[in-house]
């Protein structure tokens, strides 16, 4: 515990660095009260609210006070050992421990090798992949599209998350269907809704939207659509055009 306290103090003594990190974080919100016209006389119109800088957790990942994190150090060690054996240890950009979950941020080039290690290494044995989730971070320039995978080990009763990114300009991520066949439909879904091209997928076609649909509906730059609803003379605009408080 004493070591941790020392480190916390040391971190607190670096306000300059923390400030710079925060300024580098993407802008999440501008102004206040959702006003975009001159109606806002509060003076908050020029306010920039930034998101938090990417979290990079340092060892130890296991917090003795949080039982959910009990095996994180073991998993991180085993994964590092296994990746070092194939010379890919540098491909894990950062590890994030947050809210009792561990996330390995990995470069897309090494994704397939990493998941093979996760599946086959006896110390890891993540037998079950619960699919891939696409997320579109519009303001994360150069890393707009994220693909998030959750893996479950039944042998060790452990759960981890692997996250990889690709830019909008080159939306390619290797498919892991060859290692986890269950991701077939999940990858098709991420392609359908986000336009992430999974290289090596056996048949990457749309799955929910019609085959001739244009665009990828769950991207943040794709409007929700909808029509105004009229009721007794009053008109309610569609949800994405209603006044927002955030």
């Amino acid at each position: 515990m004493s070591n941790e306290n020392e480190r916390d103090e040391a971190a607190e003594n670096l306000p300059d660095q923390l400030g710079r990190e925060r300024l580098a974080a993407p802008v999440r919100r501008t102004g206040m009260f959702g006003a975009r016209t001159s109606g806002d006389t509060s003076g908050f119109g020029g306010l920039l609210v930034r998101g938090s800088a990417p979290v990079r957790s340092e060892r130890p990942f296991t917090d003795p006070d949080d039982p959910r994190t009990a095996d994180f150090d073991r998993v991180a060690d085993d994964l590092e050992t296994a990746l070092t054996a194939i010379g890919r240890e540098a491909e894990v950009e950062r590890v994030e421990v947050d809210r009792g979950e561990i996330t390995f941020h990995v470069r897309r080039e090494a994704l397939l090798e990493l998941v093979r290690v996760l599946r086959d290494d006896p110390a890891l044995r993540y037998e079950l992949c619960t699919g891939v989730v696409g997320v579109h971070y519009l303001e994360d320039i150069g890393r707009e599209l994220h693909a998030v995978y959750h893996f479950r080990s039944i042998t060790h009763n452990s759960e981890i998350r692997v996250e990889t990114t690709c830019p909008d300009a080159d939306p390619r991520i290797p498919s892991i269907v060859s290692a986890y066949p269950t991701n077939d439909w999940h990858e098709r879904e991420a392609w359908d809704f986000f336009g992430i091209v999974f290289d090596g997928h056996p048949a990457l076609t749309r799955i929910q939207m019609p085959d001739d649909w244009h665009g990828h509906p769950q991207r943040k730059d794709y409007p929700l659509g909808g029509i105004p609803v009229e009721y007794r003379g009053a008109t309610v605009p569609p949800p994405d055009e209603r006044r927002s408080y955030t």
């Binding site: 079950l128 619960t130 989730v133 997320v135 986890y180 769950q218 955030t246």
Partner: protein, 431 residues
């Protein structure tokens, strides 16, 4: 309709034309569309089958006919409003959807430990009732598809008993939006516990009747034994969980492996079978219903008086619901308080209801063992009052991928049995 030397594509058109053209060709294989409008496809599932006589040589699954954009829509509503969307996904397991979503939101808010005990017990109670209701529909619809209409009428009759309790507790038979981030919408009404006790007394007999109808029924055995076989490695590779993986010999249950809502405090067994076929899945489901009854009984013992919503004025709604002359609404006491008592209370109420609460930025994944398998909810917040992204890993979506593995090489009649044993609900598959 296309007729080639190789196959006859009968995916549409008049059957008379198909037969007439088929007689004029030497092609052996027939490509037919099963669905999306077909009573045996559990909603709008479309199967494209290549048949060689009675044998199904290729089965392809097409989905998306019930896609409603729930995930996208949720990004434009507050976190609390999200429950009204998720409850409509897999409409046979609404309370699992709500709980999975709320657990993810609570994880993001870091209030998992502050959810009141009574709320957790009510959640478990309703989820287990819901598990039974879902399994009853699985058996009932399968019975109907086999022509066993008694199984169908019995199954739906038993389910109605459970839906009556849901109606009493939540106000609705389905689409409850009852579980909310921080707890549940309102406490159990008077008479609910008595009604559950009645069910506990009656239900074992009803399950026994179902068992008598099916357990040793030669027709049922002939249609289900060694049909749609899927072994454990197949389940793992295809991401199959829930009753299907337990019917293939693995006692994997998130309620035991990663307990949530206090499941670690309940005594129950995880039914397993190693048959790997349709019959084994039935046996697992019916045994699970008996275990659910055990859990429900323990829930009633655990129900202690107390709050059902987190005691945090920034998250839990201040309004208490009460039954008035014109139906359910905000309690008169609360209305009197905010309208003539406290200006601040009115502001708080207004802000919380119209704007919602802020959720710290980050991501979280919460999974529950739904009646069908692992139902996961992945939620991302950017620090605002609305979800940045919510994704559901619906078990039916994943399981439908196994149709080809289960059906190819079998007869076309077994396709019906295979799909029924997966128990897919298209509302959840397509979202």
């Amino acid at each position: 309709m296309t007729v080639t030397e190789d196959y006859i594509d009968a995916s549409g058109g008049d059957w008379d034309d198909v037969i007439e053209k088929a007689q004029g060709t030497s092609a052996e294989r027939l490509v037919v569309n099963m669905g999306p409008q077909h009573p045996s496809t559990h909603g709008v599932l479309r199967l494209i089958l290549t048949l060689d006589g009675e044998t199904c040589t290729e089965a392809r699954v097409a989905i998306g006919y019930l896609h409603t954009g729930i995930e996208k829509n949720m990004e434009y509503r507050t976190w609390t409003q999200g429950t009204t969307f998720v409850t409509r996904m897999d409409y046979l397991t609404p309370l699992f959807n709500e709980t999975a979503y709320c657990l993810a939101v609570e994880k993001l808010l870091d209030i998992t430990d502050r959810v009141p005990e009574r709320a957790s017990v009510i959640r478990v109670l309703l989820m287990e009732l819901n598990r039974m209701a879902s399994h009853f529909v699985a058996m009932a619809t399968f019975g109907m598809e086999l022509g066993a209409t008694t199984v169908m009428t019995n199954g739906f009759r038993e389910r109605e008993m459970i839906l009556d309790i849901f109606e009493l507790v939540t106000g609705l038979r389905m689409n409850h939006a009852y579980v909310r981030p921080g707890g549940v919408a309102q406490d159990l009404p008077p008479g609910a516990v008595g009604k559950v006790r009645e069910l506990l007394k009656e239900m074992p007999k009803r399950i026994q009747t179902m068992r008598k109808l099916l357990d040793e029924n030669p027709v049922y055995l002939a249609r289900t034994k060694d049909v749609a076989y899927l072994n454990l490695p197949g389940c793992m590779a295809l991401g199959v969980t829930g009753p299907l993986v337990r019917a293939s010999g693995l006692a994997w249950d998130l309620r035991k492996a990663k307990p949530y809502c206090g499941y670690e405090d309940y005594e129950f067994d995880v039914p397993v079978s190693d048959g790997g076929d349709v019959y084994a899945r039935y046996r697992v489901r019916i045994a699970e219903m008996e275990e659910s009854l055990r859990i429900i009984e323990q829930c009633l013992d655990k129900l202690q008086p107390g709050p059902v919503m987190i005691e945090d004025a920034k998250i839990g709604w201040p309004a208490k619901l009460a039954l008035g002359p014109d139906g359910m609404g905000n309690s008169p006491d609360h209305i009197a308080h905010i309208m003539s008592g406290s200006m601040e209370a009115l502001i708080h109420h207004f802000k919380l209801v119209t704007e919602g609460f802020r959720v710290p930025a980050g991501q979280a994944y919460a999974a529950v063992e739904s009646a069908k398998g692992e139902l996961g909810c992945y939620a991302v917040s950017d620090g605002g009052t609305r979800p940045y992204r919510v994704h559901f890993r619906d078990p039916s979506f994943t399981h439908l991928q196994a149709v080809a593995a289960m059906c190819e090489g079998g007869t076309v009649a077994d396709v019906i049995a295979a799909v029924a044993s997966i128990d897919p609900v298209m509302g959840g598959v397509d979202r």
